[in-house]
Subunit: 80 residues, 4 copies
Amino acid sequence: ENADELRFQKDTLTHRLKDTESKNQTLEAQLSDLQQRLKSTQLEREAYQKSLRSLLELLDSKIFELTELRDTLAKLIEGS
Amino acid sequence: ENADELRFQKDTLTHRLKDTESKNQTLEAQLSDLQQRLKSTQLEREAYQKSLRSLLELLDSKIFELTELRDTLAKLIEGS
Amino acid sequence: ENADELRFQKDTLTHRLKDTESKNQTLEAQLSDLQQRLKSTQLEREAYQKSLRSLLELLDSKIFELTELRDTLAKLIEGS
Amino acid sequence: ENADELRFQKDTLTHRLKDTESKNQTLEAQLSDLQQRLKSTQLEREAYQKSLRSLLELLDSKIFELTELRDTLAKLIEGS
């Protein structure tokens, strides 16, 4: 290899390295964005589960109150 | 007592007896009517109780179905 | 009719009148008792209806609260 | 620059390029994995919403049936 040939190879490698590093940065940005979205999805999901759990407790209390009403009706029927 | 006096007393008694017997019939009719009303009131009441008992059974099944729905929601919350 | 015959008829009538008056008192007592029972039955019935009306109002409020819960669930499903 | 110096620079660049390309592959694998997880999270979420929607419809029918029961009770109270 003479110096001209080596200089040409060096320039080619420098160019490819820059391209690859640039692509790398793009990928890292995409990865960071996706991780952010996954995390916010997870947080939304937890908030959602919490709302559903409150709803379940409310439903429990409504079923309990309907059962009390049912017992009152049963006593009225028995007692008359 | 002479015969005239006795005859007068007899007539008076006959008149009072008729009045009392007439009143008797009226009372018996009222009594019969009232017994009829009491009986029909009793029958209405039994029919009413029967309707209420059907309603109670229906309410029981609705509470049961709401409890099943509640369990399905609880499983959805747990499983996610 | 001679006086003896009339006297006999008078005694017979007096006896029948007493019997009839006695039966009358019995009927009046039965009638009064029945009227009392009918009245107390009516009062019980009104108290019963009042209890059922309270129950109906309670059921209305439970249905209303279940409907609110349903709307909350619908909003959670829409919003997510 | 003489040939030795250029050869050294060429080797260094070749090494850096390989490192960067290797990191690139790692990043692409992570990105693909994350996209897969986000997609499966999305699918789970849609299945979950579908289950909740079924539950809401069931709750609607239970509220409707309780309202019918309530109307039956109201008619019983009115009619007696």
